[in-house]
């Protein structure tokens, strides 16, 4: 039973609570870094590493960190890991570093990471938090790669930089531009929604449950959204 529980912690991030398609978190990198599969995979793994490390550390420190300053503490920890990942990528994968640009630094404000810290790691054991981090990270990576595959194959007639010759004359270049990203994302969400019979994204659209700011957002800016959701 226990093992089963752990497994579900791991897999729920990949399917049932996929951060990109079900929870609709981390939309900025999802749209910005999915013009090609390599960039999307790099972004996904970078976020996974940060998510795993920050989840583990925050879970370890959950009894030490006082409630009043927990958000600044989480931000500091996450920003620290992001910077480390940034430096590592710049040192060992310079091409990827150039591709991701500012979005690498912006992992720090990726809602998924702060959201998981606030919602899961601060309440669960180190082991479970690690599994949650890996699951969510994998879910994020898979979703990014799926979206990048659609955009790169049809928009640039290549996959992970390898040209697909028979598509070369039928490129829909619009897909690798900014509007194409939003269109593909919208279509994929609709597809997921259709496959899950509408149990997925529609109900969870931007509720406070998915919002990393919920912790110190007492004013109820999202009140109207809650009602509508």
């Amino acid at each position: 039973m226990k093992k089963n529980g752990n497994l579900s912690v791991l897999t729920k991030g990949i399917f049932k609570e996929n951060p990109v398609f079900i929870l609709i978190l981390g939309t900025c990198p999802t749209l910005a870094t999915t013009t090609n599969v390599v960039g999307a995979f790099g972004m996904g793994i970078a976020a996974l590493v940060v998510l795993l490390c920050s989840n583990v550390l925050i879970s370890m420190l959950r009894s030490v960190i006082p409630d009043g300053v927990r958000i600044p503490c989480y931000i500091t920890i996450i920003a620290g890991f992001v910077t480390m990942v940034q430096m590592a990528v710049q040192a060992f994968f310079p091409a990827l570093y150039e591709m991701l640009g500012v979005y690498l630094a912006l992992i720090v404000v990726n809602c998924i990471i702060l959201g998981r810290a606030e919602m899961f790691a601060s309440k669960n054991s180190v082991g479970k938090s690690a599994l949650d981090g890996i699951g969510m990270g994998l879910g994020f990576t898979l979703a990014l790669c799926a979206m990048a595959t659609v955009r790169e194959v049809f928009g640039a007639a290549s996959f992970a930089g390898i040209a697909i010759p028979f598509l070369a004359d039928y490129k829909i270049e619009f897909l690798v531009k900014a509007p194409g990203g939003m269109l593909v994302y919208g279509l994929l969400i609709a597809l997921v929604c259709a496959l899950t019979n509408g149990k997925g994204p529609k109900k969870k659209e931007f509720t406070c449950a998915g919002c990393p700011s919920a912790g110190y957002c007492k004013t109820g800016a999202c009140q109207s959204k809650k009602e509508e959701a």
């Binding site: 600044p72 500091t76 620290g80 430096m87 590592a88 710049q90 040192a91 310079p94």
Partner: protein, 397 residues
Amino acid sequence: MKKSFKNTFVLGCICAVVSVILAFTNALTAPIIEKNESEKANAALSEVLPSGKSFTKLDITGQKLPSTVKEAYRAENGGYVLKLSTTGYAPGMVLMCGISPDGTVAGTKLIASGETPSIGGVAAESFAEKVLGKDASGIDGVDTVGGATKTTAAYRSAVKDALNAAILLGGGDVDIRTEEEILRDNLSAALPSAGGEFEKLFITEDIAGVDDVYKAKNETGFVCVIGEQFIALDMNGEVLSDTTDEIASVARAAMQLLLSTQTTDLTLTDYVGLPTQLISAKVTATGNYIIEIKGIGYGILGGNDYHPASGEYIVIRVSMTADGRIIDCLTVSQGETNGIGSACANESFYGQFDGKTEANYGDIEAIGGATVTTNGYKQAILRAFESVKIFEKGANQ
């Protein structure tokens, strides 16, 4: 109070620990990042100088270098890589040029250009192979590529600048002045009081032996160019320079003739059959004619989406002897396409007409890419010849 102290303490601790860890990571990765970046920069430079491994950027501000040189790098083996920016068929031609330690071209690469891809772009590629292995003295011997003379000539002169820059950076000395700078320096040497400001005099008289006459803009004298010699004269035509009596008398005679010139305006309506493009005509006491005439170039005939017609004629002033030999020629104004047909305002173009007659005035080098301009100019010159013939016949004939 105790609570807020604890809050601050924990947050402070976390910040401190994170900072220490980051400093540590930075110490580990910074050298690798630096190495990556210098390798990347080196790879671009190695492309044009394969024998070089590591490069140091040189500070070239204030250095005496050709003006086209924008960046300079020295390789550890004594070679140089220069980044040059010049104007070919269009402005904005940027190329990298690698110079081997022995002072020959190791490689060139066009980084950016506004050249026509199918013509100038292709020519630049084939030209890049031609200049390989050439040194500063051999570079002028490389022929330009037909059909893209401008592009390849600019390429050649940029590569020459790179070769000269390498010599200069290596501590050598080489003359990098342009032709105009050399002329100005020679004029200033002959007549220092002019302060380096000269204008070319429009010559209306047959002054045998004298090639050109320049007048100091501050009215302190003239300089006659006689072959390789620059002879200074004062405003009254007295020779100032030290020279042989023979040359001094040639210069003096020419100046006397020029200073004493009297002209009479001709009334165009007195003559029958003059070209409508004729603006004005004068005759000198010695019987030479000074004619101003309009040429119909691209400014009138042209006009497409990229180069709209300016609506301006090319205005040409030409002086010629009564028997129809051009003494001097000058473009007064023009509205041709900037950077292409506008070259008709350059002395290198209109200077070609000096000494020409109706029989051979067509033997001039056309302006590259500006056939309409060149033909309009030639047409105007032909009409000037015709006008002189009519003036010679006399009024109302």
